[in-house]
């Protein structure tokens, strides 16, 4: 008989979520050390490059903050959906469509100096992301089509839409046939937040959205309804929380957040619409959302960690010569170890001893 066993938790632990995420990071670093050795690199040098180097320069910190913004924004939106067990895995596509719509506004009103231009772009981006996610919501609620598959397919389609537009209708006529749009005017780009970095005001949107997400999930009736729908669908039906409404809401929130993140890219560091808008933020945000325990505050930390790994991965490629695949593997390992560690959220380890039995008998 095993002397250590798992016992289901009956009460929630406030400490467990931190333990679980910390354990996942630790295990990833252990496995990562093996990976570095496999590539013939010193783990210490590797970890130094990934986790320390980016934080040693203003440039590095700026790049981390730059990547934190979209990850944070998208992950907050996705987490709300995941809590409701609505699996939107196509945030990448919603980001692209949001970026496209914002770019259309920027291109239409090129030369305008109106201070309304940027808000209009943000609105267009949000609507674009919502519209793209809304297709999945419609097909799920109306035709019962699985939203996991539909959102994924839609993100692949969005990419083709983008390719078509930047090589055709939205291409800069004076751009020597490069697949990109005109450069946006100053009024169509986010102002810089920190001098000499690329960090712009879209980061503030992400932070404000994080706060709103916290209020929504922890204190609003609507958030409560979504959570009940995810935890116990029959209880939600019994209470009268409409499932269709929850699916719509979850997908539209996720789509809006991803769409705005797309605006943050084209109206931020890129300053134009081009073939590559995002290094897979929409997919990485899935990991960020889980690693943050699907909790608005946890996600702030997990998006910072993931942004660091993104930038650190680039540093490691340059300074230590690690391949870029290392970043992808790290992300996959993090989610894998997080899910394994999550068992401790619902169970705890107990040692089987005679003492426990006495306690149990007294309780009886």
């Amino acid at each position: 008989m095993p002397s250590i066993y798992l016992e289901p938790r009956t009460e929630r632990s406030a400490f467990a979520p931190f333990l679980v995420s910390g354990l996942a990071v630790f295990l990833t670093m252990v496995a990562g050390s093996g990976l570095f050795l496999l590539y013939g690199k010193s783990p210490i040098a590797g970890f130094h490059a990934i986790f320390i180097e980016p934080l040693l320069s203003n440039y590095g910190i700026g790049e981390v903050l730059l990547k934190l913004g979209p990850l944070l924004l998208i992950a907050q939106g996705l987490a709300i959906g995941f809590r409701a067990r609505v699996w939107n895995i196509g945030a990448e596509g919603q980001l692209i469509i949001g970026a496209i719509l914002a770019s259309v506004v920027a291109i239409q009103f090129d030369g305008s100096t109106s201070s309304l231009l940027l808000p209009a772009m943000v609105l267009a981006g949000a609507l674009g992301g919502m519209g793209w996610a809304g297709i999945a919501a419609w097909l799920r609620t109306r035709y019962n089509a699985n939203e996991i598959l539909v959102t994924f397919m839609l993100s692949s389609i969005a990419l083709q839409v983008l390719y078509y537009l930047v090589t055709g209708p939205l291409r800069d006529p004076q751009g020597f046939n490069f697949p990109q749009s005109i450069t946006f005017s100053a009024a169509a780009t986010f102002p810089l937040l920190i001098e000499n970095t690329r960090v712009n005001a879209s980061l503030l949107i992400a932070l404000v959205v994080s706060f709103i997400a916290w209020v929504f999930m922890q204190r609003s009736l609507m958030g409560y309804k979504l959570v009940v729908g995810g935890l116990a669908p029959h209880a939600a039906r019994y209470a009268g929380f409409g499932e269709k409404r929850a699916i719509w809401l979850a997908l539209l929130i996720g789509g809006a957040a991803a769409g705005v993140a797309g605006v943050g890219e084209v109206a931020g560091p890129l300053g134009m619409l081009q073939r590559t808008i995002s290094p897979g933020y929409g997919f990485t945000a899935i990991i960020v959302a889980f690693l943050g325990g699907l909790h608005p505050i946890g996600i702030v930390f997990s998006s910072a960690l993931m942004a660091l790994i993104y930038v650190g991965g680039d540093f490691a490629r340059l300074s230590v010569g690690l391949p870029s695949a290392v970043t992808d593997i790290f992300q996959g390992l993090l989610l894998t170890f997080y899910l394994a560690s999550s068992l401790l959220l619902t169970h705890r380890l107990r040692r089987r001893s005679s003492e426990n039995r006495i306690v149990a008998e007294i309780a009886e």
Binding site: N144, Y164, P323, A340
Partner: protein
């Protein structure tokens, strides 16, 4: 015209192999109640490791074995997460999907753009000389036929053997199967591992036979189409098989239309498999009875045996 037709038939048969193999693997896993969304990652790992093995050893047999084995290992991670660590199957599938894409990029990083010799074709002698039929049906490597045989074997095992009965019973009600004394964890693990191996062989076929070169991201969404195919076929082997050939043909149609020089944006053609997937998904899913009658009842549900 005949040449085009031969091209389409022969091409379809080859293009279907990775889809059909991976779909049979996913079907078996889902029949036991395990929804593994990591097919894309498993195929990618199979493709990369299979390619590198062929590049290093020149042995196609070894390439296919290594491709299958490495994806089997990755599916083992999924099994451990979702069966033993009770993780949500959707999340666990996404995790190994992401992990698989990363690992495949890592394995193939020094081989980007390189080629190997394609898996050799079988020698059918006089059969391949028959006009039309010869080049269309008897000018292929062994996996073109083995994949179809595998589909038959999966059908036979699931529908005609006790093992299949046990797998289906676990997929319907793990708690009842447990009460009868079957090890739900063991059976589900085996089904997941079979799914992994099939996806890996399918991936290896892609990189060592269908287009014998390595390019990062070459699986290109096929893993997701495989997951959709199982839904299209409503978990019935012959229907899933037909679906696989349909999508194989679709990819050929794409090439043929491009060849015809019609004025259709290439992006629309590239997006067509995804658009068709959504349309078929909607058509099938709108009939809830069809889904309810055939989908494994415990699909996607974590099961923990109490003792």
């Amino acid at each position: 015209m005949t040449a085009t037709l031969i091209f389409i038939i022969a091409g379809t048969l080859a293009a279907t192999v990775p889809l059909l193999l991976a779909a049979m693997g996913e079907l078996v896993a889902e029949k036991s109640g395990m929804l593994n969304l990591g097919v894309e990652g498993m195929m990618a790992v199979g493709a990369a490791s299979g390619f590198v093995t062929v590049a290093l050893t020149g042995s196609h047999a070894l390439g296919i074995i290594v491709g299958g084995a490495s994806a089997l290992l990755l599916s083992g991670v999924f099994a451990i997460l979702s069966i033993f660590f009770l993780a949500n199957q959707v999340a666990a599938g996404l995790a190994i999907g992401i992990l698989g894409l990363g690992v495949s990029a890592g394995i193939g990083k020094n081989y980007e753009g390189t080629t190997v010799n394609a898996l050799p074709k079988l020698d059918f002698g006089a059969l391949s000389e028959i006009p039309f039929l010869g080049p269309a049906f008897f000018n292929h490597d062994f996996l073109v036929y083995a994949a179809l045989l595998m589909a038959f074997a999966v059908w036979y095992v699931l529908q005609r053997t006790k093992l299949g009965l046990i797998i289906r019973s676990v997929g319907e009600s793990p708690s009842s199967a447990h009460a009868l004394g079957y090890s739900v964890a063991l059976i589900r693990t085996c089904c997941v591992l079979f799914g992994g191996a099939m996806a890996g062989v399918g991936g290896a076929y892609l990189s060592t036979a269908y287009t014998p070169l390595w390019a990062d991201g070459m699986v290109a969404g096929r893993g997701w189409i495989v997951v959709a195919l199982v839904v299209f076929g409503t978990w019935i082997v012959p229907r899933v098989t037909m679906g696989a050939y349909l999508f194989g043909a679709l990819s050929l149609l794409e090439l043929s239309i491009q060849g015809l020089g019609l004025n259709i944006p290439s992006q629309l053609l590239s997006a067509s498999p995804y658009i068709v997937t959504i349309i078929v998904l909607v058509v099938i899913s709108r009939n809830p009875t069809l889904i309810q009658l055939n989908s494994p009842m415990s699909l996607g549900q974590t099961y923990k045996a109490s003792n």
